[in-house]
Each structure stands twice: as C-alpha cells, then as structure tokens.
Symmetry: C2
Amino acid sequence: MSVLMHTLHVELGERSYPVYIGRDLLADSQLLASHVSGSQVVIVSNETVAPLYMDRVKAALGPRKRLTEVVLPDGEQYKTLATLSDIFDQVMAAGHNRTTTFVALGGGVVGDITGFAAACYQRGVNFVQIPTTLLAQVDSSVGGKTAVNHPLGKNMIGAFYQPAAVLIDTNTLQTLPPRELAAGLAEVIKYGLISDEPFYRWLQLDMPKLLAREEAALAEAIERSCSNKAQVVSADEREGGIRAILNLGHTFGHAIETAQGYGQWLHGEAVAVGMVLALELSARRGVVARDEVESLRALLRAAGLPVEPPADMTPAVFLELMGRDKKVVDGTLRLVLLEGVGSACIVDDVADEELISLLESHLSRA
Amino acid sequence: MSVLMHTLHVELGERSYPVYIGRDLLADSQLLASHVSGSQVVIVSNETVAPLYMDRVKAALGPRKRLTEVVLPDGEQYKTLATLSDIFDQVMAAGHNRTTTFVALGGGVVGDITGFAAACYQRGVNFVQIPTTLLAQVDSSVGGKTAVNHPLGKNMIGAFYQPAAVLIDTNTLQTLPPRELAAGLAEVIKYGLISDEPFYRWLQLDMPKLLAREEAALAEAIERSCSNKAQVVSADEREGGIRAILNLGHTFGHAIETAQGYGQWLHGEAVAVGMVLALELSARRGVVARDEVESLRALLRAAGLPVEPPADMTPAVFLELMGRDKKVVDGTLRLVLLEGVGSACIVDDVADEELISLLESHLSRA
C-alpha cells in the first residue's frame, strides 16, 4: 500500500530486526500486524501524538482481545521512574501477561520509556517502535537503548533491549513542530560528522529541502542516518567501544539538559551545541581545520539550531555534570572528538584546564 | 582460608559464572575481590543482615575509592519500585559510574532487588550475590531472575540478569531464624520433587540433621539444590520451556503471597502449600501414588512448614490471582505437576472446575 518503502536491517544475530522507512506505512496493516503476535497489545503514546495517530495504529492492528492505550503527558520531564510505574499500573490492571506486545507511538521520550517498560514487564515482552519525530526516527528508535532519567543524570536507569521492528512513517513529519524538526536534524548532521562525509556535504547543500519537508529528501536523510547507526550498533551493541562515537556532542549536551532541567532544552538542541564544542576542541588540538567549525555553525544555524551554550552555565557546572556522565570510566572522562568530517575518535586525555578554557570562550559569547 | 569449598558452574556461554559453597567464605578476601574489579562498590543489604555481616564483607573487599552501603528495611513488602528508586538515589548521589559493582548481601528480597538495580543502573553494571538465607542460597541467588513486586502480582517487573559470581558462606545459616530456615527447606525439597529422587529420599531420612544445622548436611543440601538448579538454568536461561519446572508450587504460592499481602507468608511457606496442592492434583489425575502426597506433607511438617492454604482464601480468589501469573500464556493457565517423585511436567489442560474442587477440599481443612 505504501508508495515507496525502504527496509534496513539491524544485524544482531538472533536479536536482528528490520527498520521500515516509507510514506503511509501506518496504513499498511500487514506490516504492523506481522510483528505483533498474540491477542494482547499495549500502545504507549503521549497527549500530543495520540490524537493524531492512535486511531490509525489501532486500525492497522485490527481487533485484539486486550488492547490498552497508555497516554503519557508530553515532555522529557516525564521520562521518569514515576511515569514508568504508572505504565506498569495500567498494564497490570488491564491483565496483560507476558505474551503481550508493547508499541511505542511517539518521539524519543515515548520510545525510550516504552522500550524500558517492555524490557522489565514480566522480565521482557515483545516491543515495536513507531517513532513519530525526526529525532526518534533517526536515533532513539534504532539500537535498543532504552531508559528513564534520574534527577542527577540523563538516561541513568535503563536497559539494552532491542525492538522486534521499527516502523518509520515519513508522513508523521508533516505535523512535527519546527523546533522538533530542527532537533532531529542535529542528530542527522551528527551521522555526517562521525562517519559519512558525502552525507554531510549533501546536507550542507540540501538543508533547505529538509526544512521544506520535501518527502524524498526526508526519506533519504532518515535512511542514511539509520543505515549509519545500524552499522555502528551491529558492530558494538552494548557500547563496549566503537558505539560510543554516536555520543558526539552528547557529554556536553547532557550537561546542558541536566543543568537547565529536563524539557527546557530539547535533546537535539543540546547536542547541537555539544557538537560545536567537540569540533572546536578538535580544532584547538589541530586535528580539524578551523573553517570546519565555522561551517558546522553555519549548517546548524541554517537548520534552526543553537550553537552556543546557555549563558547562565559556568565551566564548573559543566565539569561537575560531565563527571557524572556514563562515558566516565573509573574517573576518566572520555570524549568523542573528530579527526576530520566523517571520522570520529574517542579520547581520554582532555585536561580540566583544556575544557575550562574552551567553555569560558564559548560562555562569554552566549 | 576456607575449611572446605565446593565450586559449581552455571554454564551460560559468555555469561557463565561460578557458585562457591563453603564455610567462612566471607573471610576469604581473594575470592570476593577477584570478582569485584574497579574501585567502586555498592553493597546492598538490610537492617537485619547488615549488622551481622557488613563489616566482614567490607574487610574482604579491602580499601576502595568509593564504597557505598545501602541498607534497606527488612521484608518482602519493601521489594518495590519505590525501594529500587531509593537505591538509585543513593548510588547516584555517591557518584558511581558504570564501572561499579553491586554486591547483594542478604536474602532473596535483597538479592532480587539488587540484581534488578544492577541490571538497570546505567543499563547494566557488574553484580555479585552473597546470599545469607537458605532460600536465597538454594534458589533466588542462582539463575539470574531479578525483580520487584507489583501490588497486583509478585515479581512482575524485573530482568534476566546473571551475576558474575555467587558466594555462599554456610556459616551465615547459623544466625538464620528457624522460620526462615524452614522456608528455605521448602525450595530444597522442591529440587528433590522435580528432578532428583535420590536427593528427596535423603531429605526424608536426614531432615533432623538439617534442622540441627549440621554443617556437612547443610552444605550437601545446598550443593545438590544449586547443582539441580544450574542444570535447568543452563538448558533454558529465559524460561522458554523446561525452566518452568522450577516453579512447582509457585503459581499457587504466589496467589497466597499476593492475597495475604507481601511479608505475611514467607515465600517458602507459600511454595510448600503450593507443592502439596500440585502433588494432590497429580494424584487426582492418577499419575502419582496417593501415599506420596502424605509423605510430602509429613516431610514439610517435619521441616516446620505449613501444608494447607490460609483459611480466609476462597477458590475464586485463587483463580483470579493465578490467572494473573506470568505462567499464563495467552489466557491459558500452565501448571507444573509431577509424573512421580523426581520428574516434573508442565500441563495446560487444568479446568477451572478441577482447580475449584481441589481448592475447596483443602480450604475446608485449613
């Protein structure tokens, strides 16, 4: 039924799964139903997305003996253990057993918390991702990282738990608020920076098409992003090594999100600033040409993203929050830097003074 | 340093781990330290066990850069998401990163909740079990089932997460209250029933030695129990099939625990009654000799365990709560029955009427 569909595969042995990308995929009942065995389904969504797409998903699922809709409030500030507990209460009360399937219908918050709920409910049930924001489509729905936040740090409580399938209906981007489209573009740009220079150059040229939400350009950006991510995840599912490059800009970004309070800065906005800081640090170390830093700023600005950290943060706050990051190994901060556009590396020799100097110069501009 | 130590291995490929059983193992600093790499440790215990053994474990660990003690209230009623959240708060506040090791020092509740916390903290950290009750030593510490309870059902939220090692110091049984010793013996008897008739016959003869806490008899009972469990777990880690036989008596037992409120009946006590009901059902079906039911009652009574369900429960309450059990597959109740002592089977053809008749006859005796 879909006009055009691409299928990627995340190769993880017995945990492998398809990522479908295309227009009107939600209208294709075969596709969703083929990954939802059994008579019980839990659809988790939020107050913004449910009115737009819940009925379409229910129609695609067809009649089920037990179908429970869990509608969460919208926002990163609800990605908590308390919300997780609410989900369990509703699913338990409705009597779902371990043959049930959890379907995540929404953005990254819905996907992360639903995936974690599926990982824990009765020690693990079937799970399908239907991401409806660009950020979730190109990043959080693929790769099996699920989590909730802790007041002292982002994504601190979670599981590696792969979905049975990811359905990306590009139509859903037509209703996405501009600020959220931009936040997703930050992660799209990230894939170019860390592993795909031709893609990055294409983004520099064709950003206007993405902002105009041209169907073909969006599908291309999503497919290239997911393909880059799938390769990295297949090589290192549990982030023992190479997977860490996906965190370019994230250690700085998480510090911004935590300091500002979840839900103030969007994840993609914080990552955008984090990427500028990481590239600037790479340039200061002489491994990246300085004009690439300016090019990145220009690209991010064109995408509608911030390029400087919030003015009310200090280097000391950054250092404190970055020290709590998951990428800290036995007290040593590990950062993703670039060796050039399309090539990332992980370093553990960044001195506090180097960070303070970097942050001071940026905070004075903000 | 230990007088005598046996080592079993739970074979699970790259997740394999040793189970050490012996006297004074807690005094052997090499043993514990060899499974706690890194400079950070979280020891989770409870108010009863911590005063007895916390110092010994800390001495065995030696100096660490970051050592956090989390002492929980004692009891099944605290095996909740709220307690889990408290653990995360303390561990986050102390600044542990993902190179930390969680050590569970206590009974089944401490082991289950600590294992689940280790599974979720930063998406999974290293984890060592030091079970101090007989029940935990022969059952919950081996096999990787971790969980917390939900008000509507036991162990409904959790993960399969294997420890790096299990240290069973048989000395700790000398301080165990008699009621908890008996609760552990219920699970010991279970292994004889489901897979080891010679062990069962030995238990019938030597129960007095176990109740007198004779060191050699206890070590033998623990080793045989863990060995039986390790074999089943190695064959079916995630309970796709054969592992379910470990749940003999548990579907009835969980209904009792849930109905009475967690912490009223001990898990082993509820399982003891559940095993009587399962064996009685097997006898009614003509596959087990009736005198084996009477022998089991005698053995459980000798161990100090109950053999009849609580008088205030009705068959309707049992059926309602059993229908919510994890062993229910797409609406069909699956029960573990016996084909004879030492041989279990899983059936899914037990009619409600059959259960009601069974429960009515037992509730009238209670």
